[in-house]
Amino acid sequence: MIATFDAPSRVPESLRGPLEAALEPGERLLAVLRLDLDEALSFSEGLVALTQRRLLALRKAPEPRLESWPLESVASVSARDRAGLGSLEAFSETGRLACFRYTVARAGEAKALAEAFAAVRAGEAAAAGNRSQHEAPEAAEAEAPARLGVLLRLLRFARPHLKVLALGVALTLGTTAAGLVPPYVTWPLVDEILAPYQNQVQQAREATGVGEAQRHERLEQVREKGAAPFSRVPWYLSAMLGAALLAWALGWAQGWVLARLSERVSADLRNTTYAHLHKLSLEFFSAKRTGDLVSRISSDTDRICYFLSDTLMDFVTDLVMIAGVAAMLFYMDPVLALVTLCSFPLVAFLTFRTRRRLSRGFLRGSRAWAEMTSVLADTIPGIRVVKAFAQERREVQRFRAANARIVEVNDRVNRLWTFFWPMVALVNQFGLIIAWAFGAWRVFDQQITVGVLTAFLAYIGRFYARLESMTRMANSTQRAAASAQRIFEVLDRVPSVPEPARPVQPGRLRGQIELSGVSFRFGNRLVVDEVSLKVEPGEMIGLVGATGAGKSTLLNLVCRFYDPTEGEIRVDGTDIRSFPLGAYRRNIGMVLQEPFLFYGTISENIAYGRPDATREEIMAAARAARAHEFILQLPDGYDSVVGERGQTLSGGERQRVSIARALLIDPRILILDEATSSVDTQTEREIQEALDNLIRGRTTVAIAHRLSTLRNADRLVVLDRGRIAEMGSHQQLMEAEGIYAGLYRAQLREEEGDCGKKPATLVLRKEVA
C-alpha cells in the first residue's frame, strides 16, 4: 500500500504542467525532490520524481527538458550532503545514470526519495516522504532599523498597571493646565493695568498749559485711582503663584507615579525575558554569546526603564503642552498664530529625516555595546587561559578595539545629532523673530493690544522650548526603540523544543528508551544519521566513537535538549515530545564532563534538583557519591561555599558533588557525558566507585573517552560519523576486530606510553594553577 503522502502538492506551480504531461496513465508519484540548483550549481528550479515505474527529472535550465529512466535500469539511488550542498545520484549496474544537486534545505526530500526507491526495490510500497520536515523555528533575526512601533509593544507590559497609568496621564494634564495659567494672566495685567496706567501717566506728563505743581498732583491722582486700580495686581500675581505651586505639586506627583510605574514595567520586562530565555533550547544558547544576552537583559531593559520614566513622561507632557499652547494662541489671535507656527512643519520634517538615520546609528551602537560586553563575558571566565598564555595585552587590545568601535559608532551618531539640535533651535529663533515682527505690525495696525502680544510671546517661548525638548527626545526614544527591538528579538523566539499541546504525564518512568530512525542535523551538518537503538530498563549502554561521531548529540536528544530532525525517541513506549519537559527531565540525572557548581553552599548544590531534600538525604547522597568525607574536611562542612567566587574544589571533588546531585533526585535514566575524562586515573577510580552506586538499577547511557570506564556497560554502541557502526559487549567487539578493537588497542598503547610523559604534564599544570 501507499503511505499517505502529499508528493503532488509539493510540485512547484511552474513544473506541475510539464510533470502531469509526462506522467503515463496510471503512473503514481511516490516521492518528489524539488531541485533548487542546476548541474553547474546555479540556483534554478527543477524536479526529480519517483513513480512506481520510472525515475523522472524535469529541468528548466539551461533549457527545459525531461529525462526519465525506467526503474528496471536503475540499480540504486543515493542521497548525500556535505557543507550545505547535496547530491542525489542514480546508478545502474554499470555506472552513474544521473546526478542532481540541491541545497541542504532539500536534503530531507532527497533522502525520502532515496528511501522510497529502496522501498520500491524491496518490493514494498514507499513508506517514506510523510516524515515531517523539521524546520528551525528559532529563525534568523531581522536586521532592519528599529521602528518606533516596537515601543507600542511595551504596552503589553503596562496593561497590569492601567489604573496607575491613567492616574499618571490625569496628573500630566493637570500639570499642563496649571502651566498654561501664568502667561494668560499677563494679558489682563498689561492691557487692563499697566498699559492704561502708562498712558495716563504719559498724558499727565505731557499735558500742556499746566504748572509743575498741578502736573505733580495729576500724577498722584493717576497713581491712586487710575483706569485700573493698582490693587488688582496682587490678585493677578497670586494667581500666577498659585498656578506655579499647583504645577509643582502635580508635577511631583506625576513624576513619582510614572517613575514607579516604569520601574515595575521594566522589572516585568526583565523577568519575562529571563523566564523566556529558560524556555529556549540549548541550540539558541550555543548560537548566542553570553555577553550579548546579559546586555540584552541588563542594559537594554535599563534603557527602556529610563525612557519610560523620563522621556516618555516628558514627551506626553510636551505633547499636551504644545497642543494646549497652540489652542491658546489660536484663541488669542488666529492670524498671528498661523504665521508664527509656520516653522513647525519645518521642524517636524527635520526631525523625521534625522530620526531614521539616528535609529540606524543607535541600533549599531547597541550592537557595538554588546560586542564589548561579549569580550568581558569571554575573558573574565577564561582568565586562567589568558594569563597562562600571557595574552593580557592582546585581550586588552581586543577590548580596546571593541570600545573604539563604540566610540566610532557613537561619534557618527553624535555628529548628526549635534548638528540637528542647534538647527532646530535656530529655526525656532526664526519663528520667534517672525512672531515679533508680525506681532508688532498687528499692534500698529490696531488689530491686537500690547497685552495680547505679551501673552502671545510668553506662550510662543514656551511652545518652542517644548518643541526643542521634544526633538531632543528623539535621541533617547530611538535608543529605547533599539533596545526594545533587541528584547523582543528574544521574546519572539519560539522555543524549538516546544511543550506538547496535549501533554502525557510521565510520572515515574521505568526507563526503557527506544530510538527509531533518529537523525539530527546541526546547521547543514548531519550529526546523527538514522540511529535506531533499544535500551531496556536498568541496562547500561556505553557510547563509543571518535570526537564528532555524534555521541554527545545523541545524549542531548535523549535529554530533549534538541528534538530530532527525523525519527522519534520513545521512553516507555511514549514519544518524549508528548511529555511535559520538566516532568520528563525530572526522571533524568546527568553527570557532565565539567561539573558546574553554582555559587552557594555544598548542601545547596547537592540539593539543586530537589531543594526540599532533608539534611539526612543530602548526606546520604553525598556518602553514596563518596563525597561525604572530603566535605567534612572542608572548613565549614556542608555549609562551605563553593562555585564561582567560593571555595575551590578539585575536579574529582566537583565531580563527586555532581554525582551526589544526580543521586539525590533518584533518576530512572542516567546520562553520563565523559564523567571521568577531566581527572587523573587515581581520581577516576574514586569517581568510578561513586558512579557504580549511581548506575545501579538505572537505565544508563554513558559516553567515555577512557574505554576502561565503560567496563560495566551491558552493551557498547560504536558510533561512526553519526551512524551505529558496531554494537555488542566488550568481548564481542574485540573478537569482531572492528573500530572498537582498534580504539581499545590504541588507548592501551597510549596509557603505557603515558608513564614517561607524566612529570612534564605535572609541571605544566602547576604553572597554570
Binding site: S603, R615, E616, R623, E629, L632, G637
Partner: protein, 162 residues
C-alpha cells in the same frame, strides 16, 4: 538508593586519654583513639549531624543529632567542640577603614576586641534570615546572629556588604 552508611550510634561513650586525645567507644565496644568531631552543618544546623573522623579524615562514626546523646555525653562533646571551634560573635563594629579593598575592620566580639582584614565583599554573606557571617583574609569566621540587634553605627558599616 542504598547508600553504604557508617554506623550510626547514639549509645557512644566519649573521654579524653592521657594525651588529651578524644577517645570514642562505639555501642559495639570498639574504641577509636584521636577522633575529631565535625559538625556537618556548622551554620545552618549546628546541633544537627556530627561526624567523627579519624586522623586520616575517614569517618568512623556519625551522629544524627546532638539531641540523641545522653545528657552527660552531650555536655562533654559540646565542651570538646567548643575548644576546637573559634567563631567569635561580633557585638559591635567600631571602625571599617575606607578606601580600596582589603578593608581593615575593628570589632568588639564576645571574645574581646580584635581587628581583621576583609579581602572583599564576597567574604560577607547572609546567614539565615537576619544573620551574617564574615570570613577574614585568613579564613577565620566572625558571626553576627542578628544584624538588626547591632547598634546603628555598626549596621551602617555592614550595610554596603549585605
Amino acid at each position: 538508593m542504598s547508600p553504604p552508611s557508617r554506623p550510626v550510634a547514639s549509645a557512644i561513650a566519649l573521654r579524653h586519654d592521657a594525651f588529651g586525645r578524644l577517645v570514642l567507644t562505639t555501642a559495639e565496644g570498639l574504641e577509636h583513639v584521636g577522633v575529631v568531631p565535625v559538625r556537618c552543618f556548622p551554620f545552618s544546623d549546628p546541633s544537627g549531624a556530627i561526624s567523627f573522623c579519624d586522623e586520616a579524615g575517614h569517618e568512623v562514626c556519625s551522629l544524627g543529632s546532638l539531641d540523641s546523646l545522653a545528657a552527660g555525653t552531650r555536655a562533654f562533646l559540646e565542651a570538646d567542640l567548643a575548644r576546637r571551634e573559634l567563631v567569635p560573635v561580633i557585638r559591635r563594629i567600631t571602625r571599617v577603614s575606607s578606601g580600596p579593598e582589603p578593608t581593615l575592620w575593628q570589632v568588639e566580639t564576645d571574645r574581646g576586641e580584635t581587628s581583621f582584614q576583609l579581602p572583599n565583599e564576597d567574604h560577607v554573606r547572609r546567614l539565615g534570615a537576619d544573620g551574617a557571617l564574615i570570613t577574614d583574609s585568613h579564613g577565620l569566621h566572625f558571626r553576627i546572629p542578628h544584624v538588626r540587634a547591632l547598634d546603628a553605627r555598626s549596621r551602617k558599616f555592614l550595610e554596603r556588604y549585605l
